[in-house]
């Protein structure tokens, strides 16, 4: 047989939906996804080439940030398309099987886990909320203060700058905590991610909050309105909303429910 050897990339698991992959998706490695059904569940998979995704190749390719970015985006695009049809339990990147039999076995062995996760995320979506510290304007020297000479004026100006900078930092962090707690009221669960480095976030301002929320779809409007309202109320942070996401942050083992 001349066909090159392939392995099975697992994107995620959804309910009984053999039609799940959206038509026209390229998928990881440019291979359109297909489904494998067992135990009343449907696995979304793709047949990827061993020479690129086999163990040795994978080890090498994962070191390549461009390859990783391409693969992560393809993995995400398939999950996003499936999530539009219904709940899907996303797999971590690079979950690979030698054949369909391995996938079928996993569906059967972990059927209860998958069903539990699917019922948790049904009719709910993940939303991301990030807050960036907004730098304060340079304080204007108070003309009311008695300045007895250039040295004193200089000292007053320096002190005002230091105070403003410190206050703004404290305000930004306090706002981040307040925003995180307030938005939790609209969510079923929440997770905190570490802040992203400025290069990655594409924003020069420091990130002070990087959170994910699991929100009932019927409350999505309320949730985004709350984000807009908080934006207006907290002037030391700038908020950014992303989503809806497949529920990546709410399916892993060891997840504890609810915001703290």
């Amino acid at each position: 047989m001349a066909a090159e050897s392939r392995c099975v990339w697992l994107y995620g698991v959804t309910g009984d939906d053999p039609e799940a992959p959206a038509a026209g998706l390229a998928g990881v490695g440019g291979v359109p996804p297909r489904t494998i059904s067992a135990a009343g569940l449907t696995a979304i998979v793709g047949d990827v080439a061993d020479r690129e995704y086999g163990e040795a190749a994978l080890r090498r390719n994962l070191e390549d940030l461009d390859w990783l970015a391409r693969t992560a985006r393809a993995h995400h695009a398939v999950l996003e398309a499936v999530a539009e049809r219904g709940p899907v339990v996303p797999m971590r990147l690079a979950t690979l099987f030698a054949s369909d039999a391995g996938v079928t076995g996993t569906l059967r062995e972990r059927a209860d886990d998958f069903r539990g996760s699917l019922s948790l995320i049904a009719a709910r979506s993940e939303w991301g909320v990030k807050a960036y510290a907004a730098k304060p304007a340079d304080p204007v020297a108070d003309p009311g203060l008695p300045a007895t000479g250039p040295g004193a004026a200089y000292l007053q100006r320096r002190r005002a700058q230091l105070t403003a900078s410190k206050d703004a930092r404290a305000e930004a962090l306090a706002s981040a905590r307040a925003v995180y707690a307030e938005l939790g009221r609209f969510a079923v669960a929440s997770r905190l991610y570490p802040p992203q480095a400025p290069d990655l976030a594409g924003q020069p301002a420091p990130m002070v909050l990087n959170a994910a929320y699991l929100v009932a779809d019927e409350r999505a409007g309320e949730f985004s309105a709350a984000v807009a309202d908080l934006t207006a109320r907290h002037r030391f942070v700038q908020l950014a909303l992303t989503g809806p996401w497949p529920a990546y942050s709410f399916v892993g083992a060891g997840d504890e429910p609810g915001p703290r």
Partner: protein
């Protein structure tokens, strides 16, 4: 699922209290989710993502995770005076030392001025 409307995305510089959302998923948002979250299943091909040294180091340069980044010493937010009280104190102290030095120079200059004038 629909994208809620939150007004036109802001273009240009950040300013306090504004919001540019919902945004298209950026690479960082995707990577932190697909690498750090999602169900972990031991497939037939076992490559532990965290065993891949270069990947890990590169990612930690871009996705600064609090615990992991501290382990490899890439804890930018702890050194950022905006985010760390310690760093802020260090930064303030440096500024005060510099200020002190400038003031001493100024006093010395003034003293010299008096001697020259007297």
């Amino acid at each position: 699922m629909t994208q809620p409307s939150l007004g036109a995305p802001e273009s240009g510089a950040l300013s306090a209290g504004t919001m540019s959302g919902p945004q298209p998923a950026n690479l960082g948002d995707i990577l932190e989710r697909v690498l750090d979250k999602g169900i972990v299943i031991a497939g037939d091909i076992r490559v532990n993502l965290l065993d891949i040294e270069l990947l890990t180091i590169k990612l930690r340069l871009v996705i600064a995770s609090l615990e992991t980044a501290s382990q490899v010493g890439i804890n930018w937010w702890q050194a950022d005076p905006w985010l760390s009280a310690d760093a802020a104190q260090r930064s303030d102290r440096q500024e005060l030392e510099e200020e002190n030095r400038q003031l001493r120079n100024r006093v010395r200059a003034l003293e010299r001025g008096e001697h020259d004038g007297g």
